[in-house]
C-alpha cells in the first residue's frame, strides 16, 4: 500500500496563530481609538517609541560591528587574541544587563570622562559628565552586553564553513582577507542571519531596562504615567501592546527572510 500525500485543505493551511495575533492587535488599537482613558495613556507612552527604536538601532549596529571583531579574534590563529576574546565573551555573558547598565552609567562613564579629560589636557578643553547623556550610556551598555552574544553567533557561522574549502582557497593563493570575503562570509551569512535577527528582537525587549537610568523610552514613560495616576494595569497594557507591535512585525520579517534564504539555497 503506497501512501499518496494529499494536498492540505485551505482550512488546514491557514496560520491560525497569525489570525489570533491580528485579532489581538485589532482589539488593542480599537480600545485605544475609542476609550478616552486608553487614548490618553497611548498619547503619553507612545512618545517613547522613537527613543526605544533609536537606542536599540544604534546599539544593535554597534554590537554587530564589535561582535564581528570579537568573533574574528575568537577564531584567529593568534593565541593571545583568542584568549582575550574568550575572556571578554565569558565575563560579559555572565553579567545581567541591568547590573551592567548601572556599572556603565555610574562607574564606566565617569572613568571614561576623566580619561578623555586627561587626554585633552594639552588642548585646554574640559568635558563634563553631563555631556555624556544617559541615553548614550545605555547604548554603550547594550552594545557591550550584546556584542558578546553576537560574537558567538558569528563564530558559529564562521566555523560552519567546511575547513577543506578554506584550505583549498588558501592553496589557490587567495589572501586571508579575500578568503574571508569570497569563501567564508557568503556561506556563513546564511547561518548567521536568522539568530542575528532574533537578537535584534531580544534587544528591543531588553532596551526596556534603560528606563532604570531615566532614559525616556516606552517603559520609562509608562512608569512615570502610571506612578502619577496609579493606572498601572491599564498603562502596562498599552506598553505591552507597543512592544508586541514592534517585536511581532519584526519576527514576521525574520520568518520571510528565513524562507527566502532557504528557497535560494535549493
Amino acid at each position: 500500500m503506497t501512501y499518496i500525500p494529499r494536498k492540505p485543505t485551505l482550512f488546514a493551511r491557514i496560520p491560525w496563530w497569525l489570525l489570533a495575533i491580528l485579532l489581538l492587535f485589532t482589539l488593542g488599537y480599537w480600545f485605544i481609538a475609542t476609550d478616552a482613558g486608553y487614548a490618553q495613556i497611548f498619547a503619553a507612552v507612545s512618545g517613547g517609541l522613537g527613543t526605544t527604536l533609536w537606542v536599540t538601532g544604534v546599539a544593535f549596529a554597534a554590537a554587530t560591528t564589535l561582535g564581528l571583531l570579537v568573533a574574528l579574534a575568537r577564531t584567529s590563529d593568534n593565541r593571545i587574541l583568542r584568549e582575550l576574546a574568550t575572556f571578554y565573551v565569558e565575563i560579559i555573558r555572565g553579567i545581567p544587563v541591568l547590573v551592567f547598565l548601572f556599572y556603565v552609567a555610574f562607574v564606566g562613564a565617569p572613568a571614561m570622562v576623566s580619561g578623555l579629560n586627561w587626554l585633552l589636557q594639552p588642548f585646554d578643553t574640559v568635558i563634563t559628565i553631563r555631556q555624556f547623556d544617559f541615553a548614550w550610556r545605555a547604548i554603550v551598555a547594550l552594545t557591550v552586553c550584546y556584542s558578546a552574544f553576537i560574537a558567538e553567533i558569528f563564530r558559529a557561522g564562521i566555523e560552519s564553513v567546511d575547513r577543506g574549502q578554506l584550505e583549498a582557497a588558501r592553496s589557490l593563493g587567495l589572501s586571508r582577507f579575500k578568503c574571508f570575503r569570497l569563501v567564508v562570509a557568503p556561506q556563513a551569512l546564511r547561518t548567521i542571519l536568522p539568530p542575528l535577527a532574533n537578537d535584534f528582537v531580544s534587544m528591543i525587549k531588553d532596551s526596556a531596562l534603560v528606563s532604570a537610568l531615566g532614559v525616556q523610552d516606552i517603559t520609562q514613560l509608562g512608569k512615570v504615567y502610571s506612578s502619577g495616576t496609579f493606572l498601572f494595569f491599564e498603562t502596562y497594557n498599552v506598553v505591552a501592546l507597543l512592544y508586541l507591535t514592534l517585536t511581532i512585525s519584526l519576527s514576521l520579517l525574520v520568518r520571510l527572510l528565513e524562507r527566502h534564504l532557504r528557497e535560494n539555497h535549493r
Binding site: F106, I129, R130, S226
Partner: protein, 266 residues
Amino acid sequence: MSSLRTTLLAAAATLILGLSAASAQDLPDLAGQEITAVTENAYVPLNFADPATGEGIGFEYDLFNEIAKRLNAKVTWELASWDVMIQAVRDGQFDVGMDGITINDERKAQIDFSDSYLTSQQLMLVRADETRFTDAASFATDPTLLIGAQAGTTNFYVAVYNVLDGDEANPRIKLFDTFGASVQALQANDVDTVLMDQTSANGYIGANPGAFKVVGTPLGTEDFGFIFAPGSDLVAPVNAALAQIKADGTMEALQQKWFYEYNSAH
C-alpha cells in the same frame, strides 16, 4: 530641653510597653481580623530592612502595628515592588499598602486613602563642595542646575511644586528608579541635588564621609496616606485609630524615634 526629652522618653517607653495612654474602648473592635499589609522595604526610615537582621523595620511598620493593636487586629506583612503594590492593593490581594505614598486627587480615583499620617519634610542633599546655591530659591533661578528624583514619589512632587515651576515634565528633573541611583547620579555630578528626609540624608552623609551635605530649609507639604482597595471597610477604623494615636502623643514619640534618634549609618 531635658524635660522635653524626659517626656519623649516616657512616651516611647509607654509605647514599647504597649500601655496605650488612651483607652482603646472608643475604637472599633475588629475581633482579631487578619490584615495583610504590604510595603517595599526601600524607603529609610519609613520601611526598610534592618541591616543587622534583615527584618523589615521602620516608622510605617511601628505605626501600622500600633493601629492594628488598638483595633484588635492581626497584621501579616508582605513585600512588593512599587509598581506591583498599588495594583495588588486595588485588586484586593493586600488589605493595606504603605510606602510614603503621597495623597493626590488623581490617585484617589483609583484607590482609597486613609487620613494623612505624616507630612513629609524634604531636605536638599548636595555634594559637599557645592557653592552655587544655598536653598531652593537660588537653585530654581539657575537653569543649568539639575535635580534627581524618582517618578511618582514624594521627592518628585516636592521638586516639581516646591522647588521648580510646577511643570511635571520639566527637563531639569532627571528621573531614576531608586534613591540609590539618584544619589549615585548626584555623586557622579549628573545632578546637583536630591531631595530626601532628614533620616535618609543623615544615612547618606554618614555612609559617604565628606561627600555630601544638606542645604536650605525643609521643603514640601506632601501628605502620606495608607492605601486601600476602593470601598474598603478598613478605612474608617484605621482613621479612628490614627486620630487617637495623634492625640495621645504616640505619633510624636514614633516620629522622634525614627526621624531623630534612629541612625541608619552605624
